[in-house]
Structure formats: C-alpha cells, structure tokens
Symmetry: C2
Subunit: 446 residues, 2 copies
Amino acid sequence: MDRIESLELNIPATAKLRVVIIGGGFGGMKLAEKLSCKDFQLVMFDKHNYHTFQPLLYQVASAGLEPDSIAGPLRQIFASKEDFHFRLLKVTSVNPDANTISTVAGDLAYDYLILANGVKVNYFGNESVKAHSFPLKTIPNALNLRSQLMQMFERANMSNRPDEVDTMLDIVLVGGGPIGVEMAGALVELRKHVLPNDFPELDFTKMSIHLIEGSDRLLAAMSAKAGARALSDLQKMGVNVRLNTMFDSYDGTVARLKSGEEIRTKTLIWSAGVTGDLLAGLKPDMVERGRILTDENCKVKGSPNIYAIGDVAMMKTDKYPKGHPGVAQPAIQMGAYLGKHLKDFHLGKTVAPFKYFNKGDLAAIGRGKAVADLPGNIQFGGRLAWYIWLFIHIAYLVSFRNRLLVFSSWVWNFFTYDKGNRLIIRSFVRDDDPVGKALLQLNETD
Amino acid sequence: MDRIESLELNIPATAKLRVVIIGGGFGGMKLAEKLSCKDFQLVMFDKHNYHTFQPLLYQVASAGLEPDSIAGPLRQIFASKEDFHFRLLKVTSVNPDANTISTVAGDLAYDYLILANGVKVNYFGNESVKAHSFPLKTIPNALNLRSQLMQMFERANMSNRPDEVDTMLDIVLVGGGPIGVEMAGALVELRKHVLPNDFPELDFTKMSIHLIEGSDRLLAAMSAKAGARALSDLQKMGVNVRLNTMFDSYDGTVARLKSGEEIRTKTLIWSAGVTGDLLAGLKPDMVERGRILTDENCKVKGSPNIYAIGDVAMMKTDKYPKGHPGVAQPAIQMGAYLGKHLKDFHLGKTVAPFKYFNKGDLAAIGRGKAVADLPGNIQFGGRLAWYIWLFIHIAYLVSFRNRLLVFSSWVWNFFTYDKGNRLIIRSFVRDDDPVGKALLQLNETD
C-alpha cells in the first residue's frame, strides 16, 4: 500500500537504543514488560489496539464471554512505561540491510527489531475456503462467527424450505486441534442448554456438529491419551468426529470431502492450519516452511539485530527439531528470555540458549470435561482437568479486570446453564448470501 | 423491499387472539411481560435480537460499559412464555383495513396490533448531517462512535498536520437534551482521567468539547433549575456550551452554524431530535407531527384494534397536550396499562384512561454530578442526585445479569478512574474518510 502523505510515525528521536516490536500478542507483550525503558526506547506496532487472549476466543464466538473479558487495551497495559510508543498500524515491510521498517506512515530506523507478529490462518491456497469459511484467530473473527450462528438460527426459524433449515443449523468444523475441539464442545453446550429455550419451534436434536480432521487423531500437539479422551468425550456428547478425512472445497453451502462426500452447511469453521505472518523484505534464507528461523538465542538467521519470538519463530532444538509448539507458553517464555537478555546480547555477552519449560497442555471439551498433559508424563481427563483448565486460564489473563470478568461470567454460566452474550452486535453477512444481505440492509437502515 | 421467496413467518395458527407487537423496547417489553399467553398469542418483531437499555448507551459509546451490560436477548427474556414468538425482522407496512402487517417474509394477520417501535433520529431533512454525523440511538451506533473516538486519537498521534490534530481531538455535540449532556460529561471524564495516560504525546488540554443547543437552555424536558445546574456544571468541567445557537451543516470536517461560524471536527454527535418510526400504511389521520395519535386508552385514532405506546405514540391529555415526554417511564407505564387492560378492551369493558405518574427525571453530568427533578417539585443537583441516578439506572435494568455487570463496571470505574472498554472491536470508518478506509483495509486484511 502507498505511503499516506498526511501521516507520520512521530516517534521521538532518542539517544537510547530503539527496539521495534511487531505484535502485541503473548510474546511481544511479555518482552515489552521485561525490557527496561532506561536502556531502550520501545516502539510497538499492532493491527488491534488491544492484546487478545486467544485461548478463549472460542468462548466469545459461542456467546459465553464478551470481548472485553479477554482483551486488554495495549496502551493501558504499558501506560506506566516512560518511553513506550504504541502505533495502531500494520508494518508493511522490513529492510534488514537498512535497519528500518516501513509503514504507510513512513519508515522507522531500529537498533533491534523483534518479530512477534505470530501466525495467520493458513487456507493452503484454497480460495473457496478463504472466501466462505469462518476463521477464529481474532476478536472480529469471533464476533462475526457469533453473529453468523445467531443469524442462522433466526433465519432457520423463518425458512419455508426444510432442507435449508438443516443447512442453517448444521455446523462443520475443519481441523481437530484445540480450536476445533473446544469450539465443537461449546457448540454442544449451546445446542443442549441454550438454543432449545431460545428457539422452541426448531428441533435441535436434528442439529449436526461435524468435526473433520485429516490425521488419525485429535489434539495432535498433546498426548495420544488426551487425543483419545477428547475423541470419546466429543462422540459421547454427540459430535460427529471424522478422522482421516481429507477436506476438498466449500462454496458457502456445500462442503466437499476428497472422498466425494458432501455435507451441507452455512457455517464452516476453519481451524485446519496456520502459517507465519511473514513480512515483505525478509531474506529467503531467514524463512523455512512459513516460519522465521532463529538460533537458540532467538536471533534470526543471518541478521545481527533481528529477533523472532513466539508462533512466527522456528527455533530448531534437539527436543523440538521442527520448532516449538504454536501455543502461548513458548511465546511468553521467549518474550521473557529476550526481555531479560537483550541488553546482554547488545553488550556481546554469551548467554545460555533459550530452554522451553513445558508446563503442560490443556484443552476444555465441555462442562466438567477437559484433558490435561502435565509435566512428568501425567495425563488425565475429566472434572479435575477441567478445574485445572479453568484455574490456569483465569491466572494467565492479562489484567485483574479480565480475570474478574471471566471469573464472574463463568460462575454465572455454570449456575444458570445460560450464556448471556448472544447479542448480534456486529452483524455479519457473507458476500455469497443475498438473503442475508437483504435482511441486514432492511434491519440496519435508520 | 420485495418479498423474499425462501422466507416464511412460520407463526403457528391459533384459536386465541393474536397480538402483534412491533418493537421490543421499554413499552413493547413491558406489554409482552403483562399479557397472558392463556388469552393471547404474542408475536414480537424487532430489528435487533435484544432489548436495549437506551439511557446508558452513552456509556457504551464512551468506553465505560460493554454492550452486554445494557442489552438483554429478547428470546431469553420471554423464554418462559408459552405462546410467544419473536421474529428478527423489520415490519415494512401495516394494512389497517385488512388487519395484517407485511414483512419480506410474508404477511401476518392480527387481532390486535401494538405499535411500540419508538422513534428514530430526526435529521430534519439535513442530508449533510445524516451522511457524516454520529447518532446515538442503538448499540451499533454506540460502538461505531466509540471506534471513531479511539481511531481518531490513534490517528491524531500519527498526524503531521497540526491543524488536523485539533480536528481529530475536538468533538461537537448537537442537541442539549439528556444524550448531549450526559455524553459531553462522559467525554470530559475521558479527557481528564483516561486519555492523557493512553496518549502521553497528545495534549488533551487542547481538546475542545462543544455542546450546541438551539434553545436558551439545556435539558428542556426537565425543570429550569436542572437545566441551569447542568449548564453551570458542564461549563465548570470545561465544556463549551453554546445556547441559542442554530446549526446549519456538516461535511465531515467542518460544522457550520447559521451565524456563519465554523467549527472543525471529525466527530459530530447528533442528538438534536427524534421522530416517530412511522410504518407505511398508517392512515393520514392517525399521524400528527411524526407521532401516532391515540385516545386515552392508547387506542390509535380511527382504528378498532391498533394501539400505540411509548415514544411513537401521541396521547394528548390535559396535562400533556403535546403528548408524553419521550423517555422510558411513559413507555413502561403504557405497556403495563395496555397489558393489564387489553382483555378488558376486547370484552368491551370501560376502562379508566391511562394516567402517567411521573416518578421524576434524572440526568448524570459527571463523576459525582447529576440533576434530579422528583415528584412534589423537589429539584436538586450534585452528589445525592448522582447516587439516586446510579441506583435508579441499576434498578431499571432488564435482568439481574445486567444489573450485576453494570454495578461491577461502575464500582471498577469509580475506584480506578479507568474505563476498560476502549477496544476497537467494531472498526468504523465513514465514507468521507479515505485515509481511515486505507488504514482499515490494511489492518483488517488477513
């Protein structure tokens, strides 16, 4: 995109070292928290003005939580930092030779550049999926999906085509990782406890929830035991889990599998893959399979002053020959490591390599149901795992306010079996849905 | 709009009397609550799937509350009613002779029709204002305004044109009623307690807040004392209140007054008037000055079976020769009255006319500042009025969940001086803002 003449980055000149951090996710946020503004001037870029607690996005999409429960305004988080500068702007390219980044508001020179901009949804070049499916990576994604679900139920209630009703109620999730598993579970809760009260005229026993996974198991990043437990729990809850099933295409109504089988749905949730959000200007040898290669100090291959942390980084180690898992913990730990040692690196000190301590993995499946892999090869599922899941997610939320809001929403949802957040506050209609467009125009005019 | 072939209203046939209620605001909601489904089948239409507690919309716009704190899903509110049917759909016309209403999903016959669809923003035919200003009647309106404010501050921080910075920070409110007064006060709180921490590089002492009113006083629906107190409070808080000032036009940057004076602003909040949301098909003699004429039983003039309640209705009485004030109380009381007596009307009984009991009027001006007119000619302002305002607004919220959320947000905001909800979750850019469009496209792609 072209330079916009009326804009300027307006970052004050400084005698300190300037650290540019791209991304206010788990890694970038922890890094900015740890770096001292006595040593560095910090400049953070993000496309949203808030940090998103991504592990709970599926609860925003399924009407269990409001966005402000899981998001924290980045300016507020760093309000006490003296020389911290936030810009709500996408960085369009990196220029490693010139030590600058480019934006539509101009270029900025850096002493150190930290790539912490995470991953984006990978559609594997499948344009039909990109055009019609619902991803679940951002808060706008989650609100769009929530609106889609609620709008489809309202529409199903007003349809005179019985075959269309099924298409509007049924949901297909592609990808059996944490998003697919947790969202499928949340949809079962909605189907069981909420929707029959809201729409007594619709028969939700006919609502199918399909979870499609290409490999032979769920939750590939967790233990085999966790995957098997998630599978049996979801099946008992009535999710139609299809393993070893390759997905082909989706036109907004018909999802086609490689086998030729078709599933009709107006709502296809895509969580089958992610790929690093790679900026233009990175050198080809910095990148491998969509991620940025770093050494064990988080330093990008071939660069003296660019670092990469979190999902976007690929640090190959003996234990993680393909890089670390794309979850919050490695990002947080890399952010903390780099925050602690960036000054040492600048001073030329030798620093022990980054070591990931896996505190464990958790996935919620439904009310009272979760799976846990804890350090020491402890693997279990059920109610205890669910309590641990609840506790850990509350504990890792970014602010006390977030923790309070999520805790009270969960207490409320637990005792009432209700989800209060099923408001269509961000109406969303896909381009391929003329009836939806007509209704939206009608209802939103005036 | 044309009939959409694939849709049908799907309201079950019934031997009971069918009551169609248009609008789930204060009046329609109270009416539906009171009417018994033993006597009547209830069908409610609304353009949103939730009831909005309009008196607190300005707090959503000013980042003090989230939408779910002040909205309640209509299906949930009436989940226990056996023969209640909600349709998320605009009614396009009324056919009094045929006793039907029309929608894009088909027509519906009624035995009784209740017009409770309230008012819409009145731009008095001024297309320039309609195209560029921000109204504040709905939750999408409030979120758009919040996004606009936050985006403008981010943009001001990146501007290289000092004159544009003022245009982005300054705000003009047109209309000195409760929305204008309460929103002006909330903007002062933001300017004082929140924005300087968030944007240390911007000088908010230069941010002007203009409140423009055509008449010679604020809060025309309240006592002269309340209006004078609101004026002096706002002036002390640094709001530039301009009484007796006629507004002329607005092009998205320049607000022009009738005097020829110009005020530059990117954000003009329009609350200068409302007019009844009149459906096509109403007979000319049913309408007077944009509202629907009713007798003192809420029955629409010239119709045996159409009633109108709330803002959209004009019931002329000795005490209220121009109809009742357009606030929540008359709507609630009319809804309760009609809910109690509709069966009596049907049976041909004589019913005492509706009598409005004015419980008082309140408006909040800022932290610890409000004005109150209570029955018995008691008029006062200050901290006590503010406590009463807080209490009444909590008490009248639609659900226990809403009350809990608003109460905890207010406690939080009071002690921290903070407003946590300044997330841009529904980005909004006006058509007249190419730079905003470019930035939005850049940040929202992928």
